[in-house]
Structure formats: C-alpha cells, structure tokens
C-alpha cells in the first residue's frame, strides 16, 4: 500500500511539471501584456518597458521559466500585478472560500442524492423512481448560471430570505483565524456570524451542488440495482436477517464503492463550476479570482493559481484512489 502511494506521488511530478510548462507557455501566448493592461491606454513605450523590466518580462522565456520554478519551489509565488499583494496571501484567503463552497455543495449533493438514489432503486419502476430519474436528468441539464440566477431571483429578490452576494455580511468585523468562515465562527463561538455565514452559503451551495446531486442520485440508484440481486443479498435475506440490516450492511455498503469514485471525480467539475458560481454570487474564491486574472493578464496569479488548482485536483484524485482501496478490501494495489 505504502509503495503504491509513493509510486503514485512520484507519477504526479511529471504531470505537475507539464501543467506548469503548459500554463507558462499559454500565458505568454495571450495577446496583450500585464504592463499594457495595468498602465491603461496612456502608457508610453518607455513606461511599459520599465514595468516589463521590473517584473522580469523582458528576459528570454527560458530564463523566466527557470526563475519562476526556482521561486515557486521555495514557496514564493510572487506578487499579483493587479493588486500588488503577495499571491500566497491572496491564495490563503481565497482558497478556503472555494473549499468551503465546494464542501457545502458536495454535502448538499450527498445528503439528498444518496437517499434519493437509494429509495428510487428500492422502489424500482415506481412513480417515485420515475420522478427521481426525471428530476436528476433535469438537474444534469440545467446550467449552473441559469440555476444560480433563478435561485437568486426567487430567494433573494422575490422572497428576500437569503442574501444574494458575498460570503459574509460586509459590515461584520470578525476575526478569521483559519479563513474558513464557518469554522472560524464555530471556533470563536460567534453564533450570530455563523448564522450569517451559513445563510450566505445556502444559495451558492445549491447552485453548485445540483449537478453532483443528480449524478450521485443516478449512480446510487444504478449501484443499488446492481447489488440487490446478488447472491449474497439473497443469502442474507434467506437466513432471516431483518430487511433493514440487509439494506444497510449488504446492499448499501457495496453500493458505496462506485459512489466513492464518482464523488472524487466530481471535484474537477466543482472547481470548474466554482468559476460560474462565484461570478454569480460574488463569492470571493479562487474561481472568480482566476477568471479576473485572465482578463487582467495577471501572470503571477495565473501561474500560481492554476498550478495550485491542478495540484489540488491530482492530489484529491490520488486520495480517492487510496480510499477506494480502503473501502474495497478486494482491491489491493501492488
């Protein structure tokens, strides 16, 4: 097992180097330079040249890449050209926001998706089954930005129950020891803030979590259908175990296997969806940050941010593979 993990970790290295090269070359293929977008239309060639020199953009691309790798490996991601703040500092604020949103969305998806799929399979072919299948198809077919707009319209504009933008009430001035706002509020026993943060989280989480919910429901249903006619389930029933125990121990546990893979695969989708969700709900996360950085040609932010997201993504996939081996004792990696 340990050897498997080490080997997989080593395999990640070339992938991440590849991502860094790809991002590096791509950024330099973008039309326009940060100097121009930063200085605006009134920039003279001289000021542009000076700024380029300051950021080392006038050197050859190989020198730039070498410098970039040297500093990145030391943990120094440079300064954002747009905000002039260290990229690591911005990342420390924005990444927790995106993680919080993604976890909330996944929580929503599993909380409703698994029971929905499970009971649909138990009542295979019933009205409930058809209804949940149809609902999950709609869930997969609805674009995040449309769902987000509609949720915003109903719950924020019409009913006024929930806030429509941001992560927290801006007038609140509270400490953020971890930058995970929910966790912070719990740690500081600030229940008023917790309620406020949770309220802000509801709509973005639903918007982002609906597609995973639909997929989780469909996979759960298919997995339960697959498992429930297996011989060992019939044996368990035949020896007189209560239906509930058979459901839980024999059917549900085995149905979890494909589910765990699918949930892991959703991480990439969540990161993609976060860009749209964060744009609609003005959520101060990584997605909106990178989308803005592209239009501002903010090289350091793009280089660091995309590499960081890619690292997170491949690590999560590795964790999914490992947990798959733990959940399923039949699989042993050598």
């Amino acid at each position: 097992m340990l050897r498997f993990i080490v080997r997989r970790l080593l395999l990640l290295v070339p992938i991440l180097i590849g991502v860094s090269i790809l991002v590096f070359v791509w950024i330099r293929a973008l039309p326009g330079s940060p100097a121009e977008s930063l200085l605006g239309e009134r920039a003279t060639p001289a000021t542009i040249a000076r700024l380029k020199h300051d950021y080392g953009l006038d050197q050859s691309i190989f020198v730039q890449y070498e410098k970039y790798m040297q500093t990145t490996l030391k943990g120094d991601l440079g300064y954002s050209i747009a905000s002039r703040r260290p990229v690591t500092e911005e990342l420390r604020h924005r990444f927790p926001a995106t993680v919080e949103l993604a976890i909330a969305a996944m929580f929503f998806a599993i909380l409703f998706g698994v029971p929905l799929g499970f009971f649909a399979a138990k009542r295979y072919g019933s009205l409930f089954d058809h209804g949940s299948l149809f609902a999950s198809l709609i869930g997969i077919s609805i674009p995040i930005f449309f769902l987000g707009l509609i949720l915003k319209y109903i719950f924020a504009v019409r009913l006024g129950w929930l806030p429509s933008v941001g992560q927290i009430d801006v007038t609140k001035n509270v400490k953020h020891p971890t930058n995970f706002y929910v966790l912070d509020a719990i740690l500081t026993h600030d229940w008023g803030t917790l309620a406020d943060v949770l309220k802000h989280l509801v709509l973005p989480a639903i918007a982002l979590g609906t597609i995973p919910l639909a997929i989780v429901a469909r996979i759960t249903r298919a997995a339960v259908l697959d498992v429930q006619n297996e011989d060992y389930v019939r044996t368990a029933r035949a020896k007189g175990l209560s239906p509930r125990i058979v459901d839980r121990r024999h059917i549900f546990r085995n149905a979890l296997l494909p589910l765990s893979t699918v949930i892991g695969l959703q991480i990439g989708l969540l990161l993609s969806g976060a860009i749209l969700t964060e744009t609609i709900f003005a959520w101060p996360g990584v997605g909106i940050w990178l989308a803005d950085a592209i239009s501002a040609r903010d090289y350091p932010v793009l280089q660091a941010g995309i590499l960081f997201l890619a690292t997170v993504f491949v690590l999560v996939n590795l964790i999914v593979d490992i947990s798959y081996a733990i959940i399923n004792p039949r699989i042993r990696y050598s």
Binding site: P14, I15, L16, G18, V19, L22, V23, W26, A29, L30, P31, Y124, G125, S126, L127, H130, L137, I138, I140, S141, I142, P143, I144, F145, F146, L149, I150, K152, Y153, V157, L225, D226, N229, G268, L269, L271, S272, G273, I275, L276, T279, G287, L290, A291, I294, S295, I306, L309, A310, F313, V314
Partner: protein, 330 residues
C-alpha cells in the same frame, strides 16, 4: 491472394456491426425517454435550420422605438412579440430562434473537434502501446488536471473572442476525455480473437486498427459524443455568460443573453427564463438520447434492466389503468 485472404474479404464485406446497430436501434425506438430526446433535439434542429423563416423580426438590430412605444423595459409576452422584447427592444422570440442555430453549430463543431482529435490520439495510444502510449496519456493527464472551464476560458483569452475560438476551446477540453475512452476501448478489443485472426492472415497493422478494432470500439464513443453535445452547449453558453461569447455583442447567443439579465430582474424576469429554458431543453434532449443510446448499446446494462422485469415504459400508468378496470368489473 491466398484463399484465407479472399475469405477474410468476404467476411469483411458483410457489415460487421449491422447486427448490433440494428438491434440497438430497435431498442432505442422502444425507449420513450429517448423518443422524447429525439423530439426535443429534432425540434431544435428544425428551428436552427429554418431560423430565417421562423423568426418574425430582426434578431440583431436594436429597436429602441418599439421599447419606447411599449413604455420602457421590458414588455412581456404579447401577440406581436411571443416572448416580449429585450432591453434593447429586440424581439426575444427571434433571438431565441437564431440562438438555436449558433448553439447547435458551435456544439456540433466543438464536439467534432474534440472527438476526431481524441479518436486519433486514443486509437494510436491504445494500439501502439509502450512508450507512445505513456507519452500521449501523460499529456492527456496534464490537460485533465486543469479544470475544463478554466482551460476553455484560457484558450478563448489566447485566441481572442469569437464563435470559432469558442468551438476550438470547447473542443480541446473534450480531447482528453475521448482519447482516454477510445484508448480503453481499443485495449479491450485488441486481445480479441478476430484481431488475432486478421493478424495471422497478414492484414497490415493500420488496416486492423481502422477496419477491425475501431468499428468495434466505437460504441462508447458515440454515447459519449451525444452526452458531450449536451455539455458543449452548456459550456458554450457558460463562456457567453462570462462575456467571452461572440465578438459581435449583438449576436443572439443563449448564454450571452443571460449575462446582463440580473439588472432587469424586477421588471422582466422572462428575459432570464426564455434563454435559460431553451438551454435546458436542448441539453435535456441530448442527455436523453445519450442515455437511451447507452442503454441500447451496452449489453451489460441491457441485461440488468431485463433481469428485473420486462421493461415497459411508464408501466405504472398501465397498472393504474388495470386497477381501474378491475374495479369496473366488480
């Protein structure tokens, strides 16, 4: 030419996949969900093809006069304007109709780009194996490690705005998905007896790949292609929504139409509803067909559904009717 080769030729002349496809088509026709999908997609194709005939008004020219006559933004549905007017006084219905054309074309081209590049890469990787395989697949892994929408945004940013650029961007995002799918499929087919047979009578490698392996490995790719159409329509609309749509802002594109809609929430929610529903319905259509195809083509899935019960569409409706009939008999 040897006898074996001649015989092999004759075998090849009989369409090797006809049975499977005819079978699949029969099952697909019996699947009511897939039929609904075909109707939805068919409607959109007809609307897209005949857009100039269907759209009653100009979809691009702003018509502030009409807006002023109606008393400001934005009048809702009426007899003259089925879906009302948008914030620039253009007929919303005409814009939705023209938008169908762009969405379908862009989606189709994007998927074709991704599919053909992915096919070539996947087929080569799967059949060649060894170093070529690892190299190509590591490249695909690198692409998969970057969130898809982010990559699409990046490509559009590098190439500049425009529908062609969007097609390329969304297509490139699809390449690794198809490549991995076809590679797995080819690897599975490679060990089959008919490949061994073809090799033993001296059929060249390239011909084995093109006329023996790929036709048998293509089924999952077709399913994925249909589902990719659905995702492509959403991705294209998403790019449009983020302001990375066509270079001409008057282009009636569904995603772009949703961009500024929030400003008119109070007065004209229908401006959000119509383009949104158009996206959902077209995406739903492709998803339904894709699901139906998967069920029809995958012998394993087929076995599962048949094991439970003779699959009849919406049998609970029949059951209700039967119960009613039984009551009547009493």
């Amino acid at each position: 030419m040897s006898v074996a080769e001649l015989e092999a030729r004759q075998v090849a002349l009989e369409s090797p996949t006809g049975g499977l496809w005819r079978d699949a088509w029969r099952r697909l026709r019996r699947n009511p969900a897939a039929i609904v999908g075909f109707v939805l997609v068919g409607t959109f194709v007809v609307v897209a093809v005949f857009a100039p005939l269907i759209a009653p008004y100009n979809a691009r020219e702003p018509n502030l006069l009409a807006l002023a006559q109606a008393g400001g933004c934005c009048p809702g549905p009426s007899w003259h304007h089925l879906f009302g007017l948008d914030q620039l006084g253009r007929d919303e219905f005409s814009r939705i109709v023209w938008g169908a054309r762009d969405s379908l074309i862009v989606g189709l081209v994007a998927v074709s780009v991704g599919l053909s590049a992915g096919l070539v890469i996947g087929a080569i990787a799967g059949y060649a194996g060894g170093f070529v395989d690892s190299l190509l697949m590591r490249c695909m892994d690198i692409m998969l490690a970057i969130p898809g929408l982010l990559m699409a945004i990046g490509i559009v940013a590098a190439l500049g705005p425009g529908l062609w650029q969007i097609m390329v961007a969304v297509g490139v995002v699809n390449v690794p998905i198809f490549a991995r799918l076809l590679r797995g499929s080819v690897l599975a087919q490679k060990e089959n007896d008919f490949v061994l047979a073809a090799r033993s009578i001296g059929v060249p490698r390239r011909k084995i790949l093109v006329s023996h392996i790929i036709p048998n490995a293509i089924a999952p790719v077709i399913v994925q292609g249909t589902l990719a159409m659905a995702t492509a329509i959403i991705d294209v609309a998403g790019l449009g929504f983020l302001g990375l749509g066509a270079s001409d802002p008057s282009t009636p594109e569904w995603g772009t139409m949703l961009t500024d809609v929030e400003r008119y929430f109070q007065s004209a929610i229908q401006l959000a509803i119509f383009p949104g529903v158009a996206i959902v319905l077209s995406v739903l259509g492709f998803n339904l067909i894709g699901d139906g195809l998967r069920e029809a083509l995958d012998p394993k899935l087929r076995g599962r559904t048949e094991r439970y019960r003779e699959r009849r569409p919406f049998w609970w409706l029949l059951a209700l009717r039967k119960r009613g009939a039984a009551h009547g008999a009493q």
